[in-house]
């Protein structure tokens, strides 16, 4: 019994390390085979449509609502200190620094990441990838790399749209609904938000998240067992793993970027 447990544990660990190594090799292979994705940019544009454009609605609507909630909640708290003019700072900083990149990445993982995994997994299960190899078409270059770059390109754009929409939502609730002074709202925001410190770091975060999510989604799809169960399990794993990785990476990046300067 005990022996069995230890054996299982060891087996799982080895499998995990194995998978990790395979994932890394897969990632490097994507990077090495990226030439086609740029030479035949039409392929990447197609994927940009599926992972970027089709994610727009969920990103814009959630950004608007997140910003509106921030406006309401922030006003409630700031009001007790008589600092409701700082609402713009609160809304914009929390969106640009954290919520924009992170929530957009979580939505992107569940909206686009899962679709990528299911697509690649099914392509593998129906042996489309093998067929491509048979025709001397490299499936990594033809199928995987365009999806990877499309994800990496669309993620920062989506995060920026999320932040912009959220600030607009905060503006709607704060200025139009509650009646915070409009001039103070924008000018305090401009005073507090720094381009390099806040906005550029937010963009860097979203690019890193884009790389992580698409790489995980592609790998899970490519590695999925070629069965219905296998593909569904891989899709679930994509969402779970990439969400966790996004949150963990966010902590690491934040620790690097905002070490209490300024």
């Amino acid at each position: 019994m005990l022996k069995q447990t230890i054996e299982n544990l060891g087996n799982r660990t080895i499998q995990g390390v194995w998978r990790m190594g395979f994932a890394m090799r897969f990632f490097v292979t994507i990077l090495l085979h990226s030439g086609t994705a740029f030479r035949r940019f039409g392929l990447t544009i197609r994927e940009l449509y599926f992972s970027g454009v089709l994610s727009l609605i969920i990103i814009l609507v959630s950004g608007l609502f997140v910003g509106m909630v921030l406006g309401l909640q922030g006003y409630e708290t700031l009001q007790t200190y008589g600092a409701e003019e700082s609402l713009g700072i609160l809304v914009s900083l929390s969106l640009v620094r954290e919520l924009g990149p992170v929530v957009a990445a979580l939505l992107f993982a569940s909206r686009a990441g899962s679709a990528i995994t299911a697509e690649i997994g099914l392509m593998k299960a129906t042996e489309q990838l093998s067929a491509m190899e048979m025709m001397a078409v490299d499936p990594i270059a033809r199928v995987v790399a365009p999806r990877f770059w499309a994800g990496v390109i669309s993620m920062p754009l989506l995060a920026a749209l999320f932040s912009a929409m959220g600030i607009f939502g905060g503006y709607l609730v704060g200025v139009k609904l509650i009646g915070v002074d409009e001039g103070a709202f924008w000018s305090q925001m401009q005073n507090a938000v720094d381009f390099e410190q806040d906005i550029l770091n937010g963009v860097i975060k979203s690019v890193v998240f884009g790389v992580a999510i698409t790489a995980i989604a592609l790998f899970e799809g490519y590695d999925a067992p070629p069965t219905a169960e296998g593909v569904s399990g891989a899709t679930t794993r994509t969402v779970v793993t990439s969400s966790l990785v996004v949150l963990a990476l966010d902590f690491v990046l934040t620790a690097f970027m905002f070490r209490g300067i300024g």
């Binding site: 039409g42 544009i45 197609r46 940009l48 449509y49 970027g52 454009v53 727009l56 914009s92 640009v96 390109i153 669309s154 920062p156 754009l157 989506l158 920026a160 749209l161 932040s163 912009a164 929409m165 600030i167 924008w186 925001m189 401009q190 005073n191 938000v193 720094d194 381009f195 390099e196 806040d198 906005i199 937010g202 963009v203 300067i261 300024g262």
Partner: protein
């Protein structure tokens, strides 16, 4: 290539994304960092800088004219050497004074620059000689209590 509609959507998406980035950069954020080419640095020494932080504004007559570029502790004089990066458009007399002030009751601390009357202007790497330290609340209360006690003491 029969993908024009799709291309259109992707183009719109990319343009919207870049527009959002521009909105964040221009309307929401500001590049507070004055570049080295259009600024000059002067040093002011304080015995106590209180809660002054890097990149805090330097204001004269309430207008932001520069930022705090560097804060060092001088181990020989045991003072704080604060480097102010001032906008080149503004020249100040050599005998200007710098004070560490607080905006509002609980606000952030900034450096207030009061222009003097000298005809010679401050140059890069000059030192502002007249400085006023940050107000430390404990010292203020201590002095107030001391004064009160003095008043109440029998002559």
């Amino acid at each position: 290539m029969n993908k024009t509609v799709l291309d259109l959507w992707v183009g719109l998406f990319v343009i919207a994304g870049i527009a959002a980035l521009l909105f964040l950069a221009l309307k929401v954020g500001s590049t507070s960092a004055i570049t080295a080419s259009d600024s000059y640095e002067v040093v002011a020494r304080f015995e106590n800088i209180g809660g002054l932080k890097l990149r805090a504004p330097v204001k004269s007559a309430g207008v932001v004219v520069g930022r705090v570029a560097d804060i060092q502790f001088d181990n020989e004089t045991f003072e704080a050497a604060v480097t102010l990066r001032l906008d080149k458009r503004y020249a100040f007399p050599k005998d200007s004074s710098a004070a560490i002030l607080t905006s509002g009751l609980l606000g952030e601390q900034y450096i207030g620059l009061d222009a003097g009357g000298d005809s010679v202007k401050l140059k890069a790497q000059d030192r502002i000689l007249i400085t006023q330290d940050a107000v430390v609340l404990e010292k203020l209360i201590g002095r107030f209590l001391y004064d009160k006690a003095q008043e109440g003491a029998p002559q």
